[in-house]
Symmetry: C2
Subunit: 236 residues, 2 copies
DNA sequence: GTCTATACGCCGATAGAC
DNA sequence: GTCTATCGGCGTATAGAC
């Protein structure tokens, strides 16, 4: 179910002599950074300029901006799936759920421009529109299965029907998607402070609280706190 | 606390002879429509073209796109406040809450581009950035007060501390803000079907369910159903 | 694989005629 | 109030040298 297709498109018959760790990768990285900072306001010109490479060089690696976005969307889809997709028969315990929350937040933060500028970035490109749609569908389904799993094995004070779980999943998806941009402009400090992350995780986890066993939930919260602490140590 | 400032800026000393219901208003209306459809992809050129008026004509009424956006943001702020802001001492009953949900959803749908393209639309304009921030702060506060009011007079199975209410308000705000665009691209039918609205209202109302009295909540849901039915009759 | 140079078109914005 | 004309800037894309 992975969307990955191109293994390394710029490989012309013979393995390219590795000059300086390909510009292709640098382009993707720069695009993510700039798109996150200024959304749809940037274009290929500014990506190239930011890297100090020429226009034509960029166009050698990607035919246009949307090709770059397409590759990034694929990575987003894969990386998120790697965290959220449950293996058959898997049972979600505290650590697993904490991993979903923290890794999910990390990935969605890293690629936050993708969802916040989705309309502008995908309109007019059938493949992008389709893949973004599939990403949304897959994402909600991942979350749905996690929620079903958790409320089944650790039911809480409020019971959740399958339909409720579906709605909870959709709510959570919209919330997760919208949280990064919201946090960015709402909090004073523009950068991702661990405090902001902690608050975001608290908000997300809260939506599930009434439907899971109180003890399970408080252990999840402790797990999230430990994660945030590790972030603090990391940034200190 | 209203942001309205300019009463009718294009009134030059003497009341203008009403030629054909001012282009100024038509410009605002067209901008809302086009921005909702294609986000930041459109500009002054396309707004003017859409109306069949010239570039210069548009620039007579507004000095640039951001001036148009600024006016729209002011209207959004005012219209939403008119529904959500509680009067001193007011107690939120079922009808009031249903009104908040339905009118809030209507307003946020009408101006959905504003939040989904906020970054692109406001960066670089200090006044826009400031007002958008104030809008967010005010919005969350309106929601916060409503939630506090409801859980105080109609407490449910889960208790909500003031801090919980704060978090719930922020969650709800992000959800409400993100829901229109999400619904638009996730559901098959591009237009606002009453079914889509009903689903959105169900999602929003669900976040509060565990914290309010079950009977109160089911009456709210019935009220929302009646609202959706009136939409159906209206569109039929 | 990487880069320079260049062409084209669209958009935002202003000046000034009707 | 409404229009035409026009300028500068930026983004996309291609051709072709190193």
């Amino acid at each position: 179910m992975s969307l990955s297709k191109k293994p390394e498109p710029a490989a012309p018959t013979v393995r390219p002599r590795n000059k300086r760790a390909g510009n292709r990768e640098r382009i993707v990285e720069a695009a993510i950074e700039l798109l996150n900072a200024r959304g749809n306001l940037i274009g290929t010109t500014q990506v190239a300029a930011h890297l100090g490479i020429s226009h034509g060089n960029l166009y050698y690696h990607f035919s246009n901006l949307q090709a770059i976005v397409l590759e990034i969307l694929t990575r987003l889809h894969d990386e998120l799936g790697q965290t959220l997709a449950l293996r058959p028969g898997e049972i979600v315990d505290v650590d697993r759920l904490v991993g979903c929350y923290s890794n999910g937040a990390r990935v969605l933060w890293r690629y936050r421009f993708m969802v916040s500028s989705a309309l502008e970035l995908t309109t007019g490109n059938a493949e992008l529109e389709h893949n973004y749609r599939q990403f949304t569908i897959a994402g909600i389904d991942w979350v749905y299965r996690i929620i079903c799993n958790v409320v089944k094995h650790h039911p809480g004070p409020m019971s959740a029907s399958p339909r409720d779980c579906r709605n909870l999943a959709e709510n959570m998806w919209v919330l997760w998607n919208g949280w990064p941009r919201h946090a960015e402009h709402y909090r004073e400090d523009a950068s991702v402070s661990p405090a902001a992350i902690a608050h975001g995780l608290e908000l997300i986890a809260m939506t599930l609280a009434p439907y899971v066993e109180p003890d399970f939930h408080s252990r999840v919260r402790r797990g999230l706190s430990r994660f945030v602490d590790s972030l603090k140590r990391q940034s200190a």
